[in-house]
Amino acid sequence: MRRFRSSILLALLCGSALSTSSVSAQGAGDLAIVTHPGTPVTQLTFTELRQVLKGDKQYWSPDLPVVLFVRAPTSAERSAVLDVIYQMSEPQFKQYWIAKQFRAESATSPKNMRSNELTQQFVASTAGAIGFMAAADVKSGVKVLKIDGHLPGEAGYKLHLTKTK
């Protein structure tokens, strides 16, 4: 019921043109991958998503760098991403980025967002931004990417706030 209401609400708020309109109410427990609306992608494979989030792919296009926003530690979204995508613990995650920076493999580091609202705000306002947040908190102004062809709430979507095995 809740998932349904959210879908209706999103559909009303964003209209059919926005990707978020495709997030169904069933995706409320899912983890949505959101980008700045100007980002030239609408979907990613899981592998591509992993490359982007791990900083291995740093540009959307030659003039558009990837700006990565992550949720702050202890958040459920961060835990889900560390488990499913990074497959690292928190210390491993930090060590990974420190090493990446000191090896000059990445000029930027993920920006910690204390809330989904803040994530929503920065992703919506930062060109090339990509972040993740609870699909239920997604508002208009960002673009929800399909992962392996599925939007949050759709069957086969792999990113969930609740770890599924």
Binding site: S109, K111, T126
Partner: protein, 529 residues
């Protein structure tokens, strides 16, 4: 041009080349110093850029790390501001060190850093205070820092690398050009030095050789030779001096030759005059006496222990003086005495003097000889013969008395004008006495003469006579040659061999002459009047 000027000019040119080389070295050193200065500036800028790059990178990393903190607290800004300010100072210093070409890039860096530092300050000011602001500041700082680190600084670094490369290239070019020019000048200097040394040395050597040859030829009295060096330098001056010397020597030689010719002619004249004088002197003096007088200026009186004196006196002269004119008488006397002189000379006697019609000669002086008694006797016979063969104008036949004596005398030359060689002593007086006590066409000799010639001649004793000193002396007329010495001798033979043989045996000398008429004594006996 003189050699000194040539050498001076050559050395000046060489010195000029070395000075040019030194100038090029100085210019090169200045260029290299300037290049080194540029290189040092570029290196300093490189160091500063590395420092800036490091600091910006550190601050960027610091910002990234700080952003990963779970629950960051507000920061003490002093340390960060200090780092940010320090980087700004270094960037400002970089701008100050930049040249015109680099200035725009450095200014861009400075302006970009202003934005970057503002973003950093926004990050650090809001970290732990306002998440949205510090993330916004980080989002602003990251691309700026990335542009600085990935674009601006590498571009500037590339410019600095290019500057360093150009500075090094310039340094190498200047060094290479300087080395090439220096080596070129050095080679030119060396070639010029060698050329100067070679040509000047060859010129000097040839000239000196020419001078040496000329000096040798002139020294060998080849005075017509001239040194063929036509130059206005010192060598030419020496050559001209040599040639002048040769000319003067040639002229002097000609004058000397002329003078020698004149001297030779004069010597010939002197020699002739000397011979005339000598002849005249020998007419009045014996040769030995004349030579001694000529050599020492005087003839010292000397004692002759064995001399034969011969005196003659004409019988009939006084009568002739009454009949003949004086000049005719002198002519007659000259004819007689000329004949006497020849006879005396033929028998090696020395004419002493004539006194009126008397004739005085001697044998055994001035050269001592043991033959003088025989020689004087033979001469006496010859004198009588000469008188017998002559007739005085007017038909008068003169006769002659001859006296001989042998003994010691003192001989000498007295007086300084019209001096004459003369003898003194009893021997002379007795000889005169022998003449005066003799008889016409007879040879009256004293006892000493008789003893010396008795083996050659025949005699007729006359008994004793008294001298002025009242001394008694045995006297003899010489009547002829010992018959044994001329027996069987062909009258055609001039000298009887036995006589000559005895003469040679007694005296060890050859007979000087012999009166041939004595061989035929019977037909032509001198003492027969």
């Amino acid at each position: 041009m003189t050699i000194r000027r040539r050498l001076t000019l050559g050395f000046l040119i060489i010195l000029s080349l070395f000075a040019a080389n030194e100038g090029i070295q100085l210019w090169s050193a200045r260029l290299r110093a300037r290049t080194m200065e540029a290189l040092g500036g570029a290196l300093k800028r490189q160091v500063l850029m590395a420092s800036v790059r490091q600091q910006i990178g550190n601050l960027q990393n610091l910002m990234s790390q700080m952003s990963q903190l779970e629950d960051p607290a507000p920061l003490e800004h002093g340390a960060f501001n200090k780092d940010i300010g320090h980087a700004a100072t270094e960037i400002h210093e970089l701008v100050g060190l930049s040249d015109e070409r680099e200035h725009s890039a450095f200014s861009e860096l400075e302006q970009t850093y202003v934005k970057l530092s503002a973003a950093w300050r926004g990050f650090f000011d809001n970290l732990g205070v306002d998440d949205a602001k510090y993330v916004a500041a980080q989002l602003e700082a990251e691309p700026i820092g990335k542009r600085v680190l990935d674009q601006i600084l590498p571009k500037m670094q590339s410019q600095q690398d290019e500057s360093v490369k150009q500075a090094r290239q310039s340094f190498d070019d200047v060094t290479r050009r300087t080395d090439q020019v220096s080596i070129g000048i050095f080679i030119v200097s060396m070639l010029f030095s060698v050329a100067v040394a070679f040509f000047l040395g060859r010129y000097l050597t040839n000239s000196l050789s020419e001078l040496q040859t000329g000096a040798s030829l002139i020294g060998a009295m080849n005075l017509e030779h001239r040194i063929n060096i036509q130059s206005s330098d010192e060598i030419g001056t020496v050559a001209a001096a040599f040639n002048n010397m040769a000319t003067n020597l040639s002229r002097a030689q000609e004058e000397l030759t002329h003078a020698n010719s004149q001297l030779t002619a004069r010597n010939v004249e002197i020699e002739k005059e000397k011979q005339v004088s000598q002849s005249l002197l020998l007419n009045i003096l014996p040769q030995q006496v004349a030579e001694e007088l000529a050599t020492g200026g005087r003839f010292a009186p000397r004692y002759y222990e064995d001399v034969t004196v011969l005196f003659t006196d004409f019988v009939g002269f006084t009568l002739s003086t009454e009949k003949l004119a004086a000049d005719e008488l002198v002519t007659v006397l000259h004819d007689y005495f000329t004949a006497f002189d020849r006879v005396v000379a033929r028998y090696g006697l020395e004419k002493m003097k004539t006194i009126g019609d008397a004739y005085f000669c001697a044998g055994g002086l001035p050269v001592r000889s043991p033959t003088h008694p025989v020689d004087a006797t033979l001469a006496a016979f010859a004198l009588i013969q000469e008188v017998r063969h002559r007739v005085v104008p007017g038909g008068v036949q003169w006769q002659v008395r001859i006296g001989l004596n042998t003994g010691p005398v003192v001989a000498g030359v007295v007086g300084i004008r019209k001096f004459a060689f003369d003898v003194w002593g009893d021997t002379v007086n007795i000889g005169s006495r022998m003449e005066s006590g003799g008889a016409p066409n007879r040879i009256n000799v004293s006892e000493p003469v008789y003893r010396r010639i008795k083996d050659f001649f025949t005699f007729e004793s006359r008994g004793k006579i008294l001298t002025k000193e009242k001394k008694e002396i045995e006297t003899y007329f010489v009547t002829g040659i010992q018959p044994a010495l001329i027996a069987g001798v062909d009258p055609a033979i001039a000298v009887p061999p036995l006589f000559a043989q005895r003469y040679r045996t007694y005296f060890g000398k050859e007979l000087p002459a012999f009166p041939a008429f004595l061989i035929n004594q019977e037909a032509d006996t001198p003492h027969i009047v």
